[in-house]
Symmetry: C2
Subunit: 501 residues, 2 copies
């Protein structure tokens, strides 16, 4: 059996190397690749992914997993070996359930849809995108049908991005949260004059912004010996192993905080990947376990820590100095309030902590309605705008800033959006558990000390890599499932205070 | 048959993608990879190379090549299809002749040898490297024996780096050249006071050097839309497709020309790769055909053009301006002479045009003597120093600056060195042929116009990619084999004039 396990590990190492190599090529494409490289890069990445898939879905892999069943049954569920076999079996079943022609047609459709979407968004022309978007949803429905039986056809799609989650479980969180968020947004909206964010809209040179971002990331614990920061148009984090995890940022020279907050966000993702146990190296388990858990790390650092008074009490003097005279007469409290302004806005990626959740809930509801045939794709703009008005009190003036704003659906990512909010909700549960274990963490943050935070996350979350799903991690770390109540309480307390409710 | 050819092309595309992906990973490792990335990067590159080898040496590949034999026989030798099959068969035979255990042992040995060599060079301790170097030569001899019969066991090693060449053919060039070079070096050495290179040893800031290098590379015809320039410790050119060919440089802030001349050299390599016919994309033929032909391109641009009066008549005013006051009182002629100083020196990579050849001939002779058992590895330092004295009139004060200076042998590259000089020799033949076709090229260079040069090289050399070997290209382009006489005539004329012989 040891030999079979060894064979499995060797196959997994090959798959890992192929996928990681593809990630390096993707990073290069976003950062340094010259324009001429586009065609060859697409071919190269596609070949690496195809070979990885061939290894993952091969008969030999199925045979090995079958052979290892009795061995697996004797292992401790928490052990690296059992987790490895369990995880690989889940991936194998996903890779082999879907017929090749459906995979091929989806790939072709989304390649076209992404192009058409970009043009449609630019030209504010939903009608030109609608036929392809309908086709994408049809293909995603056919994909989901491969995983019958299920309670809701949306379930397999959600499970793809967030293993262990279902419509019902997500709904339990979002339906509790929604009326509370709508009420809080309305209350803040009624009190807009309480916060002035003009101090944050000032010029600050790119190089100085990047240097400050690097300083903050390093202070939080992001290891630059095992990573680096580069400029890109659309920031992301990518890992080539736990020892080479790279972050990216974009700089708006007329905004003092967007690049810094973005860098903190990506550092949160990156510290997760940097913290996976070396024992999981090259097994496919040596990365973050899911989108929601990843987002819980980035949001915890960006919002709960990075937008806190304690954090800025520590860093504001340095920040003031780095920015220069534009901030010399702005005190920390004024800056803190400007940084935490909350107001309904059209674009998800620019939304603040309070309004963000409603952007997600809207998409979750629409996805569920479309895949269940209750809303037609042609009606999406109308449905979108009605919900924006109902939840946030604003109506998009056009589809470009409404239903066309996100690239996800054109990629075929249906079921992905909920993970953003699930992660954000979980970040508050994690934070509260961390404070129970270490009540002095706010004082540590104010002193610029982040070792306890990172050490706790390493121990509870990071080191496990993909061994456990989000529901399993939640059970282990906070002793229960996702819970929206701490999250809304956190928002109410923080924003109630800022806005004087 | 069309179908078999299509199958072959698909396999070649997969192999090309794997090897090109490996090249991207190698480029990243040299340019931007953080220190922590080393281990995973070695694993990833090794996996990509292993998979490429598995495809190249597979039974299916052998079968396809067999099946295609009758088809190949009907094709025109010069056609893309015939060249593709011919080239692939040569690679297949090389990949399958050598037993796997020899390949594995060589890989292990050179990995260790490279580490030990680096330490030995640093500590000037040949004795510590000698056992591994002996082992490397033994393994290279065993490798060569797989390709029996041959006239000289050195032949298969030479053929690996320069297909179509043998000891006898190389020797025909080098043995004619050697006494002439020795005599020219002695004559110049006796007249050292004729050139003063102090004007070139001045401070010039890195950014300004890089900007000037980019300007020159672009003027020569290197396409930055399909490439880029980055800083590295050991400069190289690498291609991920003909549309993404990257160059690198290092900057010595206390030397005015080393980075610029290096950038011109790498641009010469890169324009070759950028000029391959699109019809050869992803076949494995879409890159330079051999090390010597590659070097003929880089040397033609670096030395024949880049170190000419015509070139600097065009660029010197801009160069003077870019460098600033250090050159304001140095006239072009003084700079031209300083740039072309020739004097015996210890280190090959720092050698000038005249002395360079003797560094290579020395290595060629020693490699031939070692693989034929006439010189023992333990005696290499003694043999090295004796030849340095005989050919260049100087004796290395230590092995670090003598027999230990190059990394090549520790990599197992025996038979590689000759290509540097073969390419340099060929560059002069190319240049003379080009001048026959376009006598006004020197005037064009002086006017900063390089389209005719590049167009001619594209037509005669670049577009063919790997379709033809160097001996084949020489026959097609200059109507005969490599000839050392134009080369020595070029050196004698140029340096005789500079040194007033």
């Amino acid at each position: 059996m040891e030999e079979k396990l060894q064979q499995l590990k060797e196959r997994l190492a090959t798959i890992a190397d192929l996928l990681r190599a593809g990630a390096v090529l993707g990073w290069d494409q976003q950062t340094y690749m010259p324009p001429g490289g586009v065609q060859a890069r697409a071919d190269q990445i596609s070949t690496l992914q195809r070979l990885a898939h061939e290894y993952q879905a091969s008969e030999e892999m199925g045979q090995l997993l079958d052979d290892l069943k009795p061995y697996e049954a004797q292992l401790d569920y928490d052990s690296d070996e059992a987790s490895l076999i369990r995880f690989t079996r889940r991936e194998y079943e996903r890779e082999t359930r879907v017929p090749g022609d459906l995979v091929a047609e989806t790939a072709k459709t989304v390649a076209l849809a992404t192009q058409v979407w970009a043009k449609a968004r630019k030209e504010n022309d939903f009608a030109s995108f609608e036929p392809l978007l309908s086709r994408v949803f049809e293909l995603q429905i056919r994909w989901a049908e491969c995983f019958a039986p299920y309670d809701n056809i949306y379930d397999p799609l959600i499970d793809l991005y967030e293993p262990g989650m279902t419509y019902e479980k997500v709904s339990a969180v979002f339906s509790g949260l929604k009326p509370e968020l709508v009420a809080l947004v309305a209350a803040l909206s009624a009190n807009q004059d309480a916060v002035d964010d003009r101090p944050i809209h000032q010029h600050w040179a790119q190089d100085s912004q990047l240097a400050f971002g690097r300083e903050i990331a390093a202070a939080l614990g992001y290891d630059f010996e095992r990573g680096r920061l580069d400029l890109v148009p659309h920031p992301f984090t990518t890992a080539f192993s736990p020892d080479d995890v790279r972050i990216t940022t974009r700089v708006d020279e007329n905004h003092l905080a967007s690049s810094t907050m973005g860098t903190i966000h990506e550092s949160g993702h990156a510290m997760y990947d940097q913290g996976v146990s070396p024992a999981l190296y090259r097994t496919g388990l040596d990365t973050g376990t899911s989108f929601a858990i990843h987002e819980s790390q980035s949001r915890l650092y960006e919002n709960i820590i990075g937008r806190s008074r304690e954090f800025w009490r520590c860093f504001y003097p340095r920040f003031q100095k780095a920015v220069g005279k534009g901030l010399s007469k702005v005190d920390m409290e004024t800056f803190y309030r400007a940084l935490n302004i909350s107001q309904p806005s059209l674009i998800r990626v620019e939304a603040d902590e309070v309004t963000y959740g409603l952007h997600i809930i809207l998409r979750f509801e629409l996805e569920n309605d479309v895949v269940n045939g209750r809303v037609k794709v042609t009606d999406l703009p109308k449905e979108w705008n009605a919900r924006m008005e109902a939840y946030l009190g604003i109506t998009p003036p056009n589809d470009a800033d409404g239903v066309l704003q996100d690239v996800h659906w054109s990629f075929g990512y249906v079921g992905y959006f909920p993970t953003y909010l699930l992660g954000t909700v979980f970040s508050v549960q994690l934070w509260q558990q961390m404070l129970k274990d270490h009540p002095d963490i706010p004082a540590q943050v104010e002193a610029g000390k982040f070792e306890t935070v990172l050490g706790w996350l390493r121990e509870k979350i990071h080191r496990h890599g993909r061994k456990f799903t989000m529901p399993e991690l939640a059970e282990r770390v906070v002793g229960g499932p996702l819970d929206w109540q701490p999250y809304i309480a956190y928002l109410r307390a923080k924003y109630g205070e800022i806005y004087g409710l």
